[in-house]
């Protein structure tokens, strides 16, 4: 006998002779794999949605400021100080980094907004409407009106601010803000839009207007901005991306500080980390069930084969031979089943990733933390998930079969055949 290859051939033939048994075990393996990988993809997807929705509202994923700007947010500490900086150049430099998706510049001012008898303190955010649209989703959330146009003295405010000021789209709003030369900048603006994020802190305090208009109001040159905000390709990797960006900007003329969103919104980071931790448990549970299901099936199957093993041993097969047969069966079965599983799973993952099914029929969409939360099944790829699942299930099928096989070979064949 040529050693090993016999057992492989026997294993192969055994599998095909007991088609029902093979099929049942294989399906358990394949679907267990599907469930585990899908679950991991979905939970990764949910975490990614969470991060993106949370960061893309306003804070973005990376922010660049003058060294001494945070935390006081002193109005004078624009990037490059009083001399300002080449804003477009800085934006270009930042966007040249392949991990950065979009960048925009912002200017912050504090002042009063007034309409009729009502006056409220507000945070004035000067933005470039076109660039800002690519970076933050706040401008997507207009419940009324449209975005302001540069040079037209237009602005938009949050829904709660609008209520408190008792203004509607089309009304005039007086804006008063301390300017950089010490005077009181003031001007008349037209309210052209109202946004609602669902976050009272934003809806009651923020007013957005074109960057150049705010610069003019605050007697600041167009070279002066407080913040460059950007989105990145992989939000969860932001810390790494920010470090690379910081190194790239190191030693450049205006000294700047680069911060990832984890530093800017530690409470969001905490929340997402918690969510991630909870997902570990969820995935673990699915995993356990999948593994258990396969193990259980294999155990039953192999125990039922006692008689078969007894016959084979009565014909002269060594216990080792029986053992190897079982192991090889497991290997072949595992490989084929997992390949089938991957064949089923991969298209589904790709499909969900590119066109996430919308569950709106089951539960309506709603807005939370600023953006429209779509109840979609979003899926993110990773290598660890599929590999870990495959390995775990593969090993399970082998070991689960080995134990009963080993037990079976310890009984003398005659006894087994006599059902004792």
């Amino acid at each position: 006998m040529s050693g090993d290859s016999v057992w492989w051939r026997v294993a192969w033939r055994n599998l095909w002779r007991h088609r029902a048994r093979t099929l049942i075990t294989a399906s358990g393996l394949a679907f267990g794999y599907l469930a585990a990988v899908l679950m991991i993809g979905l939970t990764d997807g949910m975490a990614a949605e969470l991060v993106e929705n949370g960061t893309r509202l306003l804070v973005g994923q990376v922010q660049v400021h003058a060294d001494d700007y945070l935390p006081e947010r002193n109005m004078y500490r624009t990037i490059g100080g009083q001399d300002g900086t080449d804003v477009q150049g800085l934006l270009d430099q930042v966007e040249a980094n392949e991990d950065v998706s979009n960048a925009a510049a912002r200017l912050y001012g504090g002042g009063l907004l007034s309409s009729g008898d009502e006056t409220r303190a507000g945070l004035l955010l000067g933005v470039d409407p076109d660039r800002e649209l690519l970076v933050s989703t706040l401008l997507d959330g207009l419940v009324e009106g449209r975005l302001p146009e540069t040079g037209a003295w237009e602005l938009i405010v949050g829904s709660e601010m609008a209520e408190q000021l008792e203004v509607n789209v089309g009304d005039e709003v007086v804006v008063v803000a301390p300017a950089a030369d010490g005077s009181m900048g003031n001007d008349l603006f037209t309210l052209v839009g109202i946004f609602r994020t669902g976050t009272p802190g934003i809806d009651a305090n923020y007013a957005m207007l074109p960057l150049n208009d705010l610069q003019y109001l605050m007697a600041m040159d167009v070279t002066r901005v407080h913040e460059i905000v950007m989105t990145v390709e992989r939000p969860w990797d932001t810390q790494g991306i920010a470090a690379v960006l910081a190194a790239e900007l190191e030693g450049s003329d205006p000294a700047v500080r680069v911060r990832p969103w984890m530093e800017l919104r530690p409470e969001l980071f905490e929340y997402v980390s918690l969510f991630d931790a909870a997902n570990l448990i969820i995935v673990a549970i699915i995993f356990v069930m999948a593994v258990f299901g396969v193990a259980n099936t294999m155990l039953i199957g192999t125990f039922e084969r006692r008689r078969e093993f007894a016959v084979v041993r009565a014909l002269g097969t060594t216990p080792g031979g029986v053992g190897r047969t079982v192991v090889y069966e497991g290997i072949i079965l595992g490989t084929l089943a997992l390949m089938a599983g991957a064949l089923i799973t991969t298209p589904i993952l790709v499909w969900f990733h590119n066109a996430p099914p919308d569950l709106s029929a089951l539960t309506s969409g709603f807005s939370f933390g600023g953006s429209q939360w779509r109840p979609i099944l979003r899926v993110e790829y990773s290598w660890q998930g599929p590999i870990a699942s495959a390995v775990a299930l593969f090993l399970t099928s082998i070991f689960a079969a080995m134990y009963p096989a080993w037990k079976a070979t310890r009984i003398p064949p005659a006894d087994a055949l006599a059902d004792r």
């Binding site: 007086v174 010490g182 009181m184 003031n186």
Partner: protein, 252 residues
């Protein structure tokens, strides 16, 4: 500005009354009377204000009217960019007029954290009614010569529950003409928070007053706000009706 004005005028009147050592008790009675007088007194002045900060320096010329401690109207005359800007305080309400956009905005008291017109005065200084008698206890801390001048130094300690942020206020007054020379505001830890210096003593509107006042924040000694009174008249026959929104919007 109001608060300081009242404080200085009050103490001035105090010393116009009597000589030598002043007991705390008598001081209170006198200030009470002063307070009552102040409530009826009207005044008009022309002031220039120079502000120097870390980032810029500016000069504003203003016309100021007041009636007691409850009414005041300040109108900016120059520079042209801000000419016509005015602030009206009537009773508990504060209004700002912005000529550039020809609009009046009402400022709720809780929004008055900023400096007034960019100076080192706060809106609070402008608005707050002086209640020296209610809020402070007085004593003479020092009497004698300092820098070649014979002075009294009054120590004002806030009463236990008075809603004032200062830990103590030191008031220095010249003995010879009872003119205040400086006021220093300390926080409770004893650190100087801001100081005011009086100088340029002249007779305006029939009274000897310090025409120049400098406000210096202690944490930024290179910054200051300087007020110089060019004209000042008292008892000009104003009544409450003068302090109206219409007058707020008037260009002169």
């Amino acid at each position: 500005m109001k608060g300081v004005h009242a404080l200085s005028a009050g103490l001035f009147l105090l010393f116009a009354v009597g000589p030598a050592a002043v007991e705390a008790q008598t001081a209170r009675e006198i200030l009470d009377e002063v307070d009552r007088l102040m409530r009826g007194e009207s005044s008009r002045g022309v002031v220039s204000m120079e502000i120097t900060t870390e980032h810029w320096a500016r000069k504003l010329d203003m016309e100021v009217w007041s009636l007691g401690t409850e009414y005041s109207l300040v109108r900016v005359q120059s520079p042209p960019r801000e000419a016509g800007m005015a602030t009206l305080k009537a009773d508990q309400e504060v209004w700002n007029y912005l000529p550039r956009v020809d609009r009046t905005i009402k400022v709720p008291p809780s929004l008055m954290m900023g400096s007034w017109m960019g100076s080192h005065f706060t809106n609070d200084d402008l608005v707050k009614e002086s209640r020296i008698v209610d809020d402070y206890e007085f004593e003479i801390a020092f009497e004698g010569e300092r820098d070649g001048e014979d002075i009294w130094e009054f120590l004002l300690i806030p009463k236990p529950e008075a809603p004032v942020v200062w830990g103590r206020v030191e008031y220095e007054v010249r003995k010879r003409d009872k003119m205040p020379t400086s006021v220093r505001y300390y926080d409770e830890d004893g650190d100087l928070a801001r100081s005011m210096e009086f100088s340029g003593f002249v007779t305006l509107g029939g009274r000897l007053v310090p025409a120049r006042m400098d406000v210096i924040p202690a944490d930024k000694p290179e910054e200051r706000t300087t007020l110089i009174y060019h004209e000042l008249d008292f008892d000009i026959g104003l009544d409450e009706s003068f302090f109206s929104l219409r007058n707020l919007r008037a260009r002169r």
